[in-house]
């Protein structure tokens, strides 16, 4: 059990991470957008550190944010915690209006409950199952495409919570195409999504986060080769 102590003086922020987790990356982006100094501890999931197991005993997963020795788990929970603790610095991740906020939370859940699983299915499965997963993913993406019809970013005028949540899609689409030849969405059918992806990846906090596009391609290629493909 962790008792919250009064946070005076130096803020100490640690993030337990892996390089490949889409859930971790969104936290790194949030920390960078908010200019929060932090230390990243990369975990080997086949050999989890005692610290990770202590901080996340229920799920034993990353990301875990540890703020002044107090852990917070679950990426969407962490994002909201960051936004509420470092208010406005430099600007909020979530909107103030409860209806806008509710919409973003709804679509965030949609990303994690629907789009990500079907996307994984598309990459990992074979044959008919792969085709079905692709169709499902494309149907989901059509909804995201629609969300972007009047907006520059998913969160509105500037990058925010919902962009970070869907950021995994922006970050992985090109590396996936380069390494496996799988092109999920193209400019003709998904003009908004493609434009959003390019804009998102150009945001400095996003662009400067590791691993970048080149590193991702190299790492995925390594995995592909080791699978003997």
């Amino acid at each position: 059990m962790f008792k919250k102590s009064v946070n005076k003086g130096m803020e100490k922020v640690k993030l337990f991470a892996t390089w490949s987790s889409p859930f971790v990356k969104r936290i790194i982006w949030a920390l960078k957008l908010k200019n929060i100094e932090h230390e990243i501890i990369y975990e080997d999931l086949a050999n989890k550190s005692p610290e990770l197991l202590k901080y996340n005993p229920i799920h034993k997963k990353v990301p875990v944010l540890v703020h002044n020795e107090i852990p917070i788990c679950e990426s969407l929970v962490i994002l909201e915690y960051i936004d509420e603790t470092w208010k406005d610095a430099p600007r909020p991740l979530l909107p103030k209006d409860p209806l806008d906020k509710a919409n973003q939370r709804f679509w965030a859940k949609f990303s994690d409950d629907q789009v990500l699983p079907s996307f994984y299915g598309y990459i990992m499965k074979q044959g008919n199952e792969k085709e079905e997963a692709k169709e499902t993913t494309l149907a989901h993406l059509k909804r995201v495409e629609q969300l972007l019809s009047e907006k520059k970013f998913l969160s509105g005028e500037s990058v925010g919570f919902l962009d970070l949540v869907f950021g995994w899609l922006a970050e992985n689409s090109r590396p996936l195409e380069v390494v496996t030849g799988l092109k999920l969405f193209d400019e003709d059918s998904f003009p908004n999504l493609c434009a959003w992806r390019d804009k998102f990846l150009e945001v400095p906090a996003i662009k400067e986060s590791w691993p970048d596009q080149e590193t991702l391609i190299a790492k995925y290629q390594e995995i592909n080769l080791s699978k003997g493909k």
Partner: protein
Amino acid sequence: MADEVKLHGVTGSPFVCRAVIALNLKGIKYEFVAEDLSNKSADLLKYNPVYKKVPVLVHNGNPISESLVIVEYIDEVWKGVPILPQDAYEKAQARFWAKVIDDKCLPAVFKAVSSHGEEQAVAEAHEALQFLENELKVKGIKFFGGDNINLVDIAATFVAFWIGAAEEALGIEVLSKHKFPKLTEWSDNYVNCQAVKESLPPRENLVAFFKKRFGKA
């Protein structure tokens, strides 16, 4: 300008019940739009095109879907009895536990019920419920929200009321008192809270539903 609040739902759904409890806790006047899930209204399909599910809260024509998103929305729009704590860390803890309930407890309990208390399924349900039992034990609290109910208690409504009805209907045991003394005590306290009491469906209806849905011929 008066607020127009509607809730599309079915009385037997624990997810709908979460929204009802939140509305009653805040004393919000609303219209309950009873849906027939085998013949969903055009409005429901319009308001929740992605999932076509209940509950959907419609506030001045604006729809909000997903039960926990609805509960947080209600808390943010209507002041009065708080559903989430103010402190950012306490809030994060509440959201974390609500997610544990939805991601771990609910699916495991559903499997235990739908499998008629199959041994492995019940063991997994026990594992998931143990997290909640431990949380109550370690913190020594009456409710997950402390002295008063909060988001986590509301998320766990199905534990307090739906499990018991399923157990009676199917002659199985999932939430045994000796294994889960704290959770059992919590359930009794929780269903007796005013806002919860006036929100729960009649128990005999739930029992009948479980018999019909999962009962052996």
